[in-house]
C-alpha cells in the first residue's frame, strides 16, 4: 500500500497564530460536485481536503485501515466522503455527503454528490443550495450523457459558477490535446446553458495535480489551481439585495403580561433589505403598513438583509399569518394561480397530467393540479420533445399547473427562493418534483 505523506506535525497552522478576528469575517462558499459515475468526484474532494491539510489524523488512519482491508493500492481518499456501508461495499456514492473546510481566505461547505443516474435526486439535493458546481469529466471518456444531464441541472438550478475539472489526466499522459478537445466539446454544448461563468482545469484527483498544488506534469497549463479558483471567485453579488421578499414563517405571540400586545412576524429575508420606517404591503391581502421594528432575540436592528432570519413588527394590527409575504408597494412579485415551470422529476411514478400534488413554495402550502406537459428535454441534444411528452424518473421538462391559491413568486432566474417550489406525492408524502418558475 502506498501511503500518502501524512502531515503529522502541523507546523504551518501553529506558526500562523490563529487570528480570531479574521476568522469572524470570512465569506462562505457552498459548492457541489457533479459528473458521471466514477469520474472521480469523491476522490477529488478527498484530495482537496488532504492537500489543504483539512484531514484529521484519526480520519486518515481510519480510511487507510479500510483501504488496506479492501486491498487497495492507494489510500482511497473517496472514503472520506463515501461514509455509508453500502457506498463502501459498492465503491460508489449513493447520497450527498457534506464536508467542511476553510483556508485563511474562505470557509467552504462541500456537497459531494453521486454520479449514478439512479441517485440523480440526491445530486439535485446537493446542488440546489450551491454557489458553484465542480463538474468532473473523465479525460478518457470526454463529455458523456451524464455530464450533460448534470450540467443542465446545475444551470437550471441557477448555479452561477461552474468549474469543469478534466480528471484522470495521469491516464492520458497529461496530454494537452486531450484536454483541449474536451474543452472544445464542452464549450460547444455549453453555449445553450444559462450559466456563463465556466472555468476549465486539467487535474488528477488521484495524484493531486492542479487541485491544491500546481502540476509538475502539465507545464503547458497556465491557468489556476482548483483551490485558488474556489478561494478567489467573486460571489458577493450573487445575492439579490434589491427586491424585498419577506415570507412570513411564524407569528410570535408570547403568553406573558409583559409582552401582552407583542406580535412579531418571524422569517428569513429571501431577498432585499428591510428597515424600520419602511412602507410595506402584505400579500395576498394587499394591506399596507409601516415597519415599526426589526429585531432578533430582543435586539433591535437598523436594517436587515438576505439571508438574515429576523422578526418584524408593524405599526398596525393587521391579519397576517404563515405563508403571507411582506413586499414593497412599488416592487411586487407575480401573483398567480397559473404557473409555468421547469421540473426535475424524482419519482419512479411518472408525473401525471391532471394529477394533484401538494405544493410547497416559500412558507406556503397549497395543492396543485398539473395542466399540461409542454415538453421534455432531450438531454443529449437539448431539443424539446413536444410530441406526447411524458416525464418520468430523472427527466427534465416544462409544465404548467394551477394552484388552489395564488402564489407570490418571481422567475427563478431572478430569485432562487421565491422562484422555486417542490411537489409532494399526497399518498406517500415524498418529495417528487423540484420546480423552477419560468420568466
Amino acid at each position: 500500500m502506498i501511503d500518502l505523506e501524512l502531515v503529522t506535525d502541523n507546523e504551518q497552522v501553529k506558526e500562523e497564530k490563529f487570528d480570531a478576528n479574521s476568522y469572524l469575517n470570512m465569506e462562505l462558499l457552498r459548492f457541489t460536485t457533479a459528473g458521471s459515475v466514477d469520474d472521480g468526484k469523491s476522490t477529488l474532494i478527498g484530495r482537496l481536503l488532504y492537500d489543504s491539510k483539512s484531514i484529521f489524523e484519526d480520519q486518515y488512519e481510519a480510511i487507510k485501515a479500510t483501504s488496506e482491508k479492501h486491498g487497495d493500492q492507494y489510500v482511497n481518499l473517496a472514503l472520506l466522503t463515501d461514509g455509508l456501508k453500502a457506498e463502501r461495499e459498492q465503491g460508489i456514492t449513493i447520497d450527498v455527503a457534506y464536508r467542511y473546510f476553510s483556508t485563511p481566505k474562505r470557509k467552504f461547505i462541500i456537497a459531494d454528490t453521486p454520479g449514478h443516474i439512479q441517485y440523480t435526486r440526491n445530486m439535485v439535493t446537493g446542488a440546489s443550495t450551491a454557489n458553484l458546481a465542480i463538474i468532473l469529466i473523465d479525460a478518457r471518456k470526454g463529455v458523456i450523457e451524464q455530464t450533460r444531464r448534470h450540467s443542465i441541472i446545475a444551470s437550471l438550478l441557477g448555479i452561477p459558477h461552474i468549474a469543469v475539472c478534466i480528471n484522470k489526466m495521469d491516464m492520458v499522459d497529461y496530454n494537452q490535446e486531450v484536454f483541449e478537445k474536451i474543452v472544445d466539446d464542452y464549450r460547444t454544448f455549453a453555449t445553450r446553458l444559462k450559466t456563463k461563468d465556466i472555468h476549465f482545469i486539467p487535474v488528477s484527483a488521484l495524484l493531486g495535480d492542479n487541485i491544491v498544488n500546481r502540476s509538475e506534469n502539465m507545464k503547458w497549463y497556465e491557468g489556476v489551481t482548483l483551490l485558488y479558483l474556489l478561494e478567489t471567485i467573486h460571489i458577493a453579488s450573487d445575492i439579490n439585495h434589491i427586491d424585498l421578499r419577506f415570507p412570513v414563517q411564524y407569528v410570535i405571540r408570547p403568553f406573558s403580561d409583559k409582552f401582552h400586545d407583542y406580535r412579531g412576524y418571524a422569517g428569513r429575508i429571501a431577498s432585499g433589505v428591510i428597515r424600520p420606517g419602511d412602507k410595506i404591503t402584505v400579500l395576498p391581502s394587499g394591506f399596507t403598513s409601516k415597519v415599526k421594528k426589526v429585531e432578533l432575540d430582543g435586539k433591535a436592528l437598523e436594517e436587515a438583509f438576505a439571508p438574515m432570519s429576523v422578526t418584524v413588527l408593524l405599526e398596525d394590527d393587521i391579519d397576517i399569518s404563515r405563508g403571507d409575504m411582506l413586499v414593497r408597494e412599488n416592487n411586487l412579485p407575480r401573483q398567480s394561480q397559473d404557473i409555468e415551470a421547469m421540473v426535475c422529476w424524482m419519482s419512479d411514478k411518472p408525473l401525471q397530467i391532471n394529477g394533484k400534488y401538494a405544493l410547497k413554495h416559500t412558507t406556503k402550502d397549497v395543492r396543485a393540479v398539473i395542466k399540461e406537459i409542454k415538453y421534455k428535454l432531450d438531454i443529449n441534444s437539448l431539443h424539446r420533445i413536444t410530441e406526447n411528452p411524458s416525464i418520468g424518473m430523472n427527466d427534465i421538462g416544462r409544465i404548467s399547473l394551477r394552484t388552489t391559491k395564488p402564489l407570490c413568486c418571481d422567475a427563478y432566474t431572478k430569485n432562487r427562493d421565491t422562484g422555486s417550489f417542490i411537489l409532494i406525492d399526497e399518498a406517500t408524502n415524498v418529495t417528487v418534483g423540484a420546480c423552477m418558475v419560468i420568466d
Binding site: V13, Y23, L24, N25, Q59, S309, N429
Partner: protein, 300 residues
C-alpha cells in the same frame, strides 16, 4: 454599504430558520438535550428564534445514569434560567423494566441502550419531531443526514432512501406513526460552535475547560475515574490536567490533556488540533459503521 453576512451569522440564520420551521410544521416537537455543547447551542438558538415568547419545545434528556455531576448541575440551571420544560427518559428505568439488558465487561456502555429509551419516550409523549444537535462534520454517517430526517414507524433511518431536500423547502409531511429528527446545526463545525459561543458570551459547563481530574489510560484515551467504569487491575489512576472536547456518557467520553482555560484558549486549541472530537469516543470505535448502525435503529 455592502450587505455581507459573515459565516457565523449565516449559520445562525439558517439554524433559526430551521427551528422556526419545526415549530410551524409539527404539532408536538421536542429538543433532545444531552448537556453537551451542541445541544446547549441548539437550545440558545431556539431561545433566539422565538424571543420574547418561550421556547415552544420541551427539553428531553435521555439519561444513561452515567453522567458527570457537572452536566446535571448545568442542565438544571439552564432549564431554570430559560424557564423551559424538562423531560427525563431514564435508561436505568428501561433496564429495570426489562426493556433492555445491561452490557457486561470492562467496556460495557449504555450508549446503544439509549435508543430504546428514546423510542419509548417518543411514543409515550407522541413527539412528531425531535430536534438534535448532531453536526455533519462529526462523523461520516452524520455527514449524510438531511436537516429534516424522516423516520419510519419503527424509528428507523433509511440512509439509502432519503427524501430529496431542495433549497430551503423542508418537507415535514408524514404518515401516521412516523416521525422526524431535525438537525438545525448540521452545517456547523466544532470551530464554528466555539467561535459562536465566545461571540455570544454563553456560559459553558466547567468540564469543557481545563481542570485537574483523576483519570486512567485505556485504548488511547484518558477516561475519568468513575464508579460506573470497572477498571482492570493493570490500569492506574493518575491526576492530570484535562478538559473534555465532547461531553456524553461518562463511560465513553475521553478527556484531552489540555491547559485551555478560556473560550479563547479553546478556539486556539480547536483550530490547531489534528484529531477529530469524536476521536476520543469509544462508542464510535466499536466498528467501522457503528454510528450508521445505531442511527438505523433509531439513535440520535
Amino acid at each position: 454599504m455592502s450587505y455581507t453576512l459573515n459565516h457565523l451569522k449565516t449559520l445562525e440564520s439558517e439554524s433559526v430558520f430551521i427551528l422556526r420551521e419545526v415549530a410551524a410544521q409539527f404539532q408536538n416537537p421536542a429538543i433532545l438535550f444531552s448537556g453537551g455543547k451542541d445541544s446547549i447551542l441548539v437550545t440558545y438558538l431556539a431561545k433566539k428564534a422565538f424571543y420574547p415568547a418561550a421556547i415552544p419545545f420541551p427539553l428531553v434528556h435521555i439519561d444513561t445514569g452515567h453522567n458527570f455531576a457537572e452536566t446535571m448541575e448545568y442542565r438544571d440551571k439552564l432549564v431554570e434560567k430559560l424557564d423551559a420544560k424538562l423531560i427525563v427518559g431514564s435508561v436505568q428505568d428501561s433496564i429495570d423494566h426489562g426493556r433492555v439488558a445491561e452490557e457486561k465487561g470492562y467496556n460495557a456502555s449504555r450508549i446503544r441502550l439509549q435508543t430504546t429509551t428514546l423510542l419509548d419516550i417518543i411514543e409515550k409523549y407522541k413527539f412528531d419531531a425531535c430536534i438534535g444537535g448532531a453536526r455533519r462534520d462529526e462523523e461520516k454517517a452524520r455527514a449524510k443526514e438531511r436537516f429534516f430526517s424522516h423516520r419510519d414507524e419503527f424509528g428507523q433511518w433509511d440512509p439509502k432512501n432519503q427524501r430529496p431536500e431542495l433549497w430551503n423547502l423542508f418537507n415535514g409531511r408524514m404518515n401516521q406513526g412516523e416521525n422526524f429528527r431535525v438537525f438545525p446545526i448540521s452545517n456547523w463545525t466544532e470551530l464554528d460552535v466555539w467561535q459562536y459561543l465566545a461571540m455570544e458570551g454563553i456560559e459553558m459547563p466547567s468540564l469543557y475547560f481545563s481542570h485537574k481530574r483523576r483519570v486512567f489510560y485505556r485504548d488511547n484515551n484518558w477516561l475519568a475515574e468513575s464508579p460506573n467504569i470497572p477498571m482492570r487491575t493493570t490500569e492506574v489512576v493518575e491526576e492530570k490536567v484535562v478538559r473534555f472536547r465532547t461531553i456524553g456518557d461518562i463511560t465513553s467520553t475521553g478527556a484531552t490533556l489540555s491547559s485551555a482555560s478560556t473560550l479563547n484558549d479553546i478556539i486556539q486549541e480547536v483550530a490547531a488540533t489534528r484529531v477529530t472530537e469524536r476521536g476520543g469516543r469509544a462508542d464510535d470505535k466499536r466498528s467501522e459503521t457503528s454510528m450508521e448502525d445505531r442511527k438505523k435503529e433509531g439513535y440520535f
